[in-house]
């Protein structure tokens, strides 16, 4: 899988750069994940505000609600939940698509036409994954903060100025940098695991044949990606804190 990743990244930097396939993949991974990201972002922010408010009230620190919501989202929940949503929506689709292409000899057909599958098929997905997951994370964070505002300020009467002031005071560039690094790594991880699982379907020890083979590797890709995201989340946090 390491050599596979290296070959994909090499084809990503080698010209030519096929713009249209990259835009199409960015649309598939990014734009078509927008609804689910906005929805989960809003509810995550709302839950954080609700739970945070009742916890902070016990210590008389409701004024810290804005910073609690923002820090949780920017550092942890934003990148992790966005990545998990993208795994479920796009990672599984990437794995199934490539797996079916492998099963039906479409990848062999590409190779026989002297078209490099790494360049033609995989590189645009890597570009799209690395670009869109950080953007989706940013949208998740903003929507989450607004969701927190709705619950904390509009429903629970926390002062709006205090909510945002606490946020300005506590969130610094290091936190945003951590969020960006995580989402970049997660974007790469999602596409890497999903595409490798599909691409090497025929080498699966458990037998990668037919619809069942595709279904099995897709499940594996989703589980492995989700676990990898949580493990790398811990590693990046441990390194950057």
């Amino acid at each position: 899988m390491g050599i596979f990743l290296f070959a994909c990244l090499l084809n990503l930097v080698k010209p030519p750069y096929p713009l249209f396939p990259m835009i199409r993949q960015a649309h598939f991974i990014g734009v078509r994940s927008l609804f689910v990201i906005i929805f989960t972002g809003a509810f995550t922010g709302m839950i954080l505000a609700l739970q945070g408010y009742y916890t902070l009230t016990k210590f008389g620190s409701e004024g810290m609600l804005g910073s609690a919501v923002a820090l949780s989202l920017v550092r942890e929940l934003g990148p992790v939940l966005t990545a998990l949503m993208v795994v479920g929506r796009a990672g599984s689709a990437i794995c199934a698509e490539i797996g079916i292409m492998r099963n039906s000899e479409q990848i062999d057909a590409l190779e026989c036409m002297a078209i490099d599958p790494y360049k033609y098929l995989l590189a645009p997905k890597y570009v799209a994954g690395i670009l869109t997951v950080p953007l989706l994370t940013a949208i998740f964070d903003v929507i989450g903060i607004l969701g927190g505002y709705l619950i904390g300020v509009v429903l629970l009467d926390v002062n709006g100025g205090t909510y945002f002031q606490g946020m300005y005071a506590s969130v610094d560039w290091q936190d945003i940098k951590m969020g960006v690094v995580k989402s970049l790594v997660f974007g790469l991880l999602i596409v890497w695991i999903a595409s490798a699982k599909g691409y090497f379907l025929h080498r699966e020890r458990s037998g990668g044949f037919g619809a069942e083979g595709v279904s099995r590797v897709t499940t594996d890709a989703v589980v492995l990606s989700s676990v990898a995201i949580l493990v790398w989340d811990y590693l990046i946090s441990a390194i950057m804190l």
Binding site: S104, E105, A109, E111
Partner: protein, 266 residues
């Protein structure tokens, strides 16, 4: 093959291939004559498609050489492999059309990815090939909307798009009825006459496929048992070839054997 015969486009020398513990090919030696049609026959599961995959560079042998226009694919680097593959056209057993692309885009793909032709020229060339295959009205359909015969014709159009020097056909008529099979053979004959390509065909359609063949090779017990003209193949005394001919075409008439029985006393 003798010296009078055309030069070899592809040569397999001592090719051995194993998948896990199973040895599929043992010491395969085969020469594909340039500009001619070589048909590989043999029972199912003998490894005929594996031979084609070796010739295409999709599979590398454990031992032996796969020489295509003099280059050894068994050791070729990716760049050289791609250069050689530019001369190939392939019609896969299950056609392997890109199912999320229309017929037009499937046929246009090799030109779009491998040449710098303008879209106008590509459109004209694709239409010409689709017309040749009687598919002009199906250009905006998707593979799932096509019949088996139409899929094969789209696959053939795509395989011929870059005017290849060698075209591989893996079971070109499997799953087609007699008239559709004849249509594929007619198109094969027409396009080979036009383009003069070398053809390698893996087929079960015996004896019909013999009409198209210049040479027939039998793969049995992991080895090529002989490469000869269809006539010589049908009359061969080689035991495995004889058994294959008898199993697929019925017992060969022998006047010595059959007629003597008629005159034996009851």
């Amino acid at each position: 093959m003798s010296k009078e015969q055309p030069a070899a486009a592809i040569e397999l020398v001592g090719v051995e291939k194993r998948f896990g513990r199973q040895t599929v090919l043992r010491d395969v030696n085969l020469s594909v004559a340039s500009g001619k049609t070589t048909v590989i026959v043999g029972a199912s599961g003998e490894g005929k498609s594996v031979i084609i995959k070796h010739m295409l560079g999709l599979v590398r042998p454990e031992r032996g050489e796969v020489l295509v226009f003099g280059s050894n694919l068994a050791r070729a680097r990716k760049k050289e492999l791609n250069r050689i593959r530019m001369e190939f056209g392939v019609l896969f057993q299950n056609v392997a059309l890109f199912d999320s692309m229309s017929v037009f885009d499937n046929v246009a793909l090799p030109l779009r990815e491998r040449t710098k032709l303008s879209e106008t020229v590509i459109r004209a060339k694709v239409r010409e090939k689709l017309d040749l295959m009687d598919l002009i009205d199906a250009d905006d359909k998707f593979p799932a909307q096509l019949s088996g015969g139409m899929k094969k014709r789209v696959g053939l159009a795509r395989a011929l798009m870059l005017d290849p020097k060698v075209v591989f056909f893996d079971e070109p008529t499997t799953g087609l009825d007699v008239s559709r099979s004849n249509e594929i053979y007619r198109l094969f004959h027409k396009t080979q006459r036009q383009l003069g390509y070398t053809a390698v065909i893996v087929s079960h359609d015996v004896p019909k496929i013999f009409k198209l063949a210049d040479y027939v090779a039998l793969l049995a017990e992991g080895k090529i048992q002989g490469v000869m003209s269809p006539e010589a193949f049908q009359l061969s005394e080689q035991p495995l070839i004889r058994r294959y001919v008898e199993e697929t075409m019925g017992p060969i008439y022998s006047s010595a054997k059959e007629e003597s029985a008629l005159y034996e006393p009851a």
